[in-house]
Structures are given as structure tokens and as C-alpha cells.
Amino acid sequence: MLALDIADLVMCFPGLDAPVLAIDRLHLPAGARLAVTGASGSGKSTLVNAITGLETATRGSVSWGGTDITRLSAGRRDAFRAAHIGLVMQDFHLFPGLSAFENVVLPVRLSRRLKPAERERALQLLETVGIARPHQSVETLSRGEMQRVAVARALLSKPGVIVADEPTASLDRRTGDEVAELIVRLAREGGATLVVVTHDPALTERLDRRIGLDGGRIVEDSGEARAA
């Protein structure tokens, strides 16, 4: 469970004058559940990339539990993300040719030897998310099942943070609802801080706080409104 602190964060892309993202200050307490909304091009994905360290910040700092990931080298940042941040993406990014179980343990297996406890946890997570046959090849699963496998993968290393980028956008309504419920429930059970980028009002409903982005800036924040 990690708290997020953003200070003076600016993200610029080469060839663009205006910054794509500019956040002066954002604090998210450990264990909080945040929804990020906004039109496309508002900077939502850039925010996800910045807080997960997938993209290097142009300026400013992004701290998780006191670790400023903008100051880490690319390699250490990858390692920090592997250890502390579980990612769920719109396009699943599962690897065809491998089974559901193999996909869940792939990131760990590529870095080191899989421990028996991790193997157990992977199988249990797959059961929890409702995958009946963990050794079924991943390309034969339905889209909803694929996203469930991706959720299981995000949770394998017991991350302190779960970041989901449009996790329900490519699913139909009912499946999307089930996946949304799953993510929120598992984040709560695992005690993880949750950040979800979404258009989905049903998903936003399930979270405690919502910030709206426009033109790379925070234009509304339910948390501040409440505080105010």
C-alpha cells in the first residue's frame, strides 16, 4: 500500500509546444481509490505513463511511498514497477502461444525462477478471477476472460499499487461490470492503492475519488471539493 505524491509534474512531447500534462500537486493517500476521467487527448494516458514510470517525466517528481521514480534510471524504474505496480491495460497485452497460467507468471519467470508459493498464488488468483482452466491457451479465451487473466497477472506480485488504463473499454457492458467489480474488490482485499483511468460511469461510481483532466490539467477533483 503506497501513497502517491505528484509535484510540479510536466510532460512534454517533442514537436509540441504546450505540455501534454501539467500537474502542480496531487496527493493520494495509501489505499485510496482514484478514478481519472476526461475526453480523449486530455492527458489521461500520459498521466498513467508518468505515474507508472513507463514514460520519463520532463520535469517534476512522482513519488510512491517516498520513492521518486523520476529520479530512477530506466532499469531501476522497470524494476520498481515490477515490484510495486500492477498494470491492467485496455488491450490486455497477453502473449499468444502461452497458457493463461503461463501469462500470469511470465513477468516473474522472465526475471527469475518462479517460487512454489508464487505458483500457488497464480493458480489461486486465476481461480478467484474465474478462469476454470488455467492451462488453456490464452488466445482461445473470450475477451472478458482475457482481461481477467490480465488482472490476475497484475496482482501476482502483491503490488502496493494497481493502475488500470481503461480496463473495461474494450468489453461489453455486462463483462465490463464484472471486471470492474473484480478489480475494485481485489484491490481492496490486497490493500492496494488503486488508480483507474475510465470513461465508464459505473466503474467511476465504485471509486472514492474522481479527478477530471482537460488539456493536461486537473479541472475537477471530487476529493478537493469534499475537502473544501
Binding site: 514514460e55 522497470d78 515490477a82 515490484a83 499468444p96 513477468p107 516473474v108 497477472r153
Partner: protein, 430 residues
């Protein structure tokens, strides 16, 4: 890791196969060139092993060696039979055997010689016995005739339009063991039968009166030249095939193209060679002549090998291009792997491992292909020349292989490192 690499290769199996085949073909080319050159060198060296010293009439050293070792038909001049007599009695000589070429039967060379040479080539016969009568023949291991079969010798070769000698029909009395030389295709007959066939010896009991006749006859002449012009042998008389052998040679012995000499010691060999290098005779170590020929062969090998290595460089460059494009196309996958926590080292290992695996597979396949091709070429050469050409790997090939693997390691690391150039987010958008 390995499972992931294999799953990944399965997804791109068409491209992977093409890369493997490309590498395999280019490797096979160099392997074949290297192995075949060695096979020809070793095979002919072994073929020359039993021919320590050859003495012939003054002329081309190379021609003398090739004719005697590989039984290559060619116009060899005759030298006086007195040389054979002298060599036979020389105390430094273990044995001296005449070699008379010129005739053939069913495409196999008929060689006139003595039982001594047969025993030298094949200490134990595979079957049958040495020749005991003028009409007997001992055949090489690759001559298909059975024991007791009749052989009708022909002057020259069948393709040169020679005529059949009607005066004698040889009967196969024995078969030599496999020697791995051109002599496996030969039909060996008593030298006196050859002389008589060509009218160089008066009659069966060789009470020779017509000495000068020998000097211009053609026991060793080129089949083509001989067959066309001079059929006036004046030897229509039947030859007594049952006449006993006479393997003693004196000063009246008819002319012969070559004498194979087995000296008693190495020093004797050098002394004899020195002595018989003169105005009328020529003495050569066939091994030495062949060594000179190999030098030429070696030059050809260097050229072919340079071409082969050139093609390999082109293939490697093409593969590099393909891989860099391939890595570009799979940036998304690489970005995702990094996003989900795969270490940078493992990404490099995956991209590098995949490419290296392809290189290795291509290399292994190329070795097999090259080896098979060399075996095939050797086999077809052996079928026409009877010279066994051993296809084998040697110690120095290992360093070539190490070079190739080292180069493969280096080349495949380039795309692996380029895979990490982009940030994971950019890679995911690719």
C-alpha cells in the same frame, strides 16, 4: 524463458524458417568446399601411397604420376625394357614391377604387370588366385565380372573407337581386395600378354629376335592416337593363353611406359630417383607430384571459400536487416513485457536468444547439408574414378565453427540492444 522464445518463434515460423534456410545454405556452401577439398586431397594421397617411386621414359612428371596412380589414359612414351631388367636386379630395390597401359575392356583399363604388383596392391586377394597363365586376369574390387568370366581386351577405349584384340581372351582368375584407389577399376593381366598382343615379343616363349620392333610399338600409347593409325601390328597369330608366366626380365625386355619401384629404404628411394633422372628416363615420387597439384587445388579452395564467406556476410547482413525490422514490428510486445515487469536483461536475452537460436539451427542444418553434399560429390567421384575420397571433419574446422558462433553472438546482440531504445510507453504505442 525458453518456452516463451519457442512460443514466439512458433508465431513467426515462416520468417524463422526462411532465416534458418538462408543461413543453412550459406554455411553448407563453405562446409562443402572445405570438406570436398580435403576429401580430394586425402583420397588422392592415399591412392598414391603404394606408389613409392615411378620410373618412366623422359617426359612429363605429372603425366607419369597421374597415369600410374589414377590410370588416366594418356600418351606416355615408352622406355627401354632394359631399365626394368636393371631395376629388378638392383640390390636397393625391394621389387620393380612393369606397368603397361593402353587397352581396356568394358570401360575398365587393362593393365599389364606382374604378380608382384598385384600382391603389393592387395596382399590378400578377396577371392580366387593370382595369374598363373598368360591368359589369366586379376580384377579390381569394382570390376563387376565374376571369377572365370571372359574378358576381351580392346585397343584403346570404347569411346575412342578402338578395335577388339581377337588374339586373346583373358579369364578372370582372382579379385583384389578393395584398395580405395583407381586400381579398383583395373583389370590386371600378365605384362607379357600385353607385349604379345601388340607384337612386341616374338612368341610365347619370348625368344625375342626382333628387338628394334619394340621401340616403335605402342603398349603405352594414347588410345586415341594409336587406335586411329597403326593397326599393322603383324600379330594375327593366336596367343597361347595357357603358356606359363615368365616374370624374369633381361636386357631384351620390350619397351614399357612405366616401372613401379619399391625401394628398400628412404635413402635408397632418393638415390634411385637421382640415378634415373637422365636423358632417357624420368623418376618421380608420385606423392611429391601430387603435393604440387594440391597447391593449385588449395588456391582454388581459397577462392571458393572466399566466395562462400562473402555470401555468408551478405546473408548475415540480410538477416540483421530482417531482425531490425522484426524488432521494430514487435516493439509493442517488448514494451508490454517491460510494462508488466520483465527485466531489461530478460528482454535482451529473449531477442538475442531467439536470433541466436535461429543462427545455431541454420548452422547445424548447414553442417548437415554441407556434409551430405560433400558425401554425395565424393560418392559420385568414387563411382567414376574408384578413388575413395574420405569426407571428414578435421581439428582446424573447430576454429572456423567457433568464429561463426562468436560472430553470430555479436550480430544477434545488436537488435537485442536496439529493442531497449524506446521507453515502454512509446514502444506500447508503436
Amino acid at each position: 524463458m525458453i518456452r516463451f522464445i519457442l512460443a514466439d518463434l512458433r508465431r513467426f515460423k515462416g520468417g524463422a524458417l526462411a532465416v534458418v534456410v538462408l543461413i543453412a545454405l550459406s554455411v553448407a556452401l563453405s562446409v562443402t568446399v572445405t570438406l570436398q577439398e580435403r576429401a580430394v586431397r586425402l583420397g588422392s594421397a592415399r591412392a598414391a601411397e603404394k606408389f613409392d617411386l615411378l620410373v618412366g621414359a623422359a617426359g612429363s612428371e605429372t603425366q607419369l604420376a597421374l597415369s600410374a596412380v589414377f590410370l588416366q589414359p594418356s600418351p606416355l612414351p615408352l622406355m627401354s625394357g632394359a631399365v626394368l631388367a636393371k631395376l629388378s636386379q638392383d640390390p636397393r630395390v625391394d621389387f620393380a614391377a612393369p606397368v603397361g597401359f593402353g587397352d581396356s575392356a568394358y570401360g575398365h583399363p587393362v593393365v599389364g604387370t606382374t604378380t608382384t604388383l598385384v600382391s603389393a596392391l592387395s596382399p590378400r586377394l578377396a577371392e580366387g588366385a593370382l595369374f598363373a597363365r598368360l591368359g589369366d586376369a586379376v580384377i579390381g574390387a569394382d570390376v563387376p565380372s565374376p571369377l572365370g568370366a571372359e574378358i576381351k581386351p580392346m585397343h584403346g577405349g570404347i569411346d575412342q573407337g578402338g578395335h577388339v584384340h581377337t588374339e586373346i581372351v583373358y579369364r578372370v582368375s582372382g579379385r583384389m581386395a578393395v584398395t580405395g584407389t583407381a586400381w579398383d577399376r583395373a583389370i590386371l593381366v600378365p605384362i607379357r600378354a600385353v607385349w604379345q598382343l601388340h607384337g612386341m615379343e616374338g612368341d610365347a616363349d619370348h625368344d625375342h629376335t626382333d628387338h628394334d620392333h619394340a621401340d616403335h610399338d605402342h603398349a603405352g600409347e594414347a588410345p586415341d592416337g594409336a587406335a586411329a593409325g597403326d593397326h599393322d601390328h603383324g600379330h594375327e597369330a593366336h596367343i597361347d593363353a595357357d603358356a606359363a608366366l615368365d616374370e624374369h626380365f633381361d636386357a631384351d625386355t620390350p619397351g614399357i611406359p612405366a616401372v613401379l619401384v619399391k625401394p628398400k629404404t628412404v635413402a635408397d628411394a632418393y638415390r634411385l630417383r637421382q640415378e634415373y633422372r637422365g636423358e632417357t628416363t624420368l623418376a618421380v615420387f608420385p606423392a611429391e607430384v601430387l603435393t604440387r597439384l594440391y597447391a593449385t587445388l588449395g588456391d582454388a579452395r581459397s577462392l571458393l571459400l572466399a566466395i562462400a564467406i562473402g555470401t555468408q556476410v551478405i546473408v548475415v547482413a540480410a538477416i540483421l536487416l530482417v531482425t531490425i525490422m522484426h524488432v521494430g514490428a514487435r516493439q509493442r510486445q517488448i514494451g508490454a513485457l517491460r510494462a508488466f515487469g520483465a527485466s531489461r536483461g530478460s528482454i535482451v536475452a529473449i531477442v538475442w536468444g531467439e536470433l541466436f537460436l535461429l543462427f545455431l539451427a541454420g548452422f547445424a542444418l548447414g553442417l548437415l547439408l554441407g556434409y551430405a553434399a560433400a558425401r554425395f560429390i565424393s560418392a559420385s567421384l568414387a563411382a567414376t574414378t574408384a578413388v575413395r575420397m574420405p569426407v571428414e571433419f578435421a581439428r582446424e574446422d573447430a576454429s572456423l565453427a567457433v568464429w561463426f558462433v562468436a560472430l553470430a553472438v555479436l550480430v544477434s546482440i545488436v537488435p537485442a540492444l536496439s529493442a531497449l531504445r524506446l521507453s515502454p510507453a512509446r514502444a506500447l504505442r508503436a
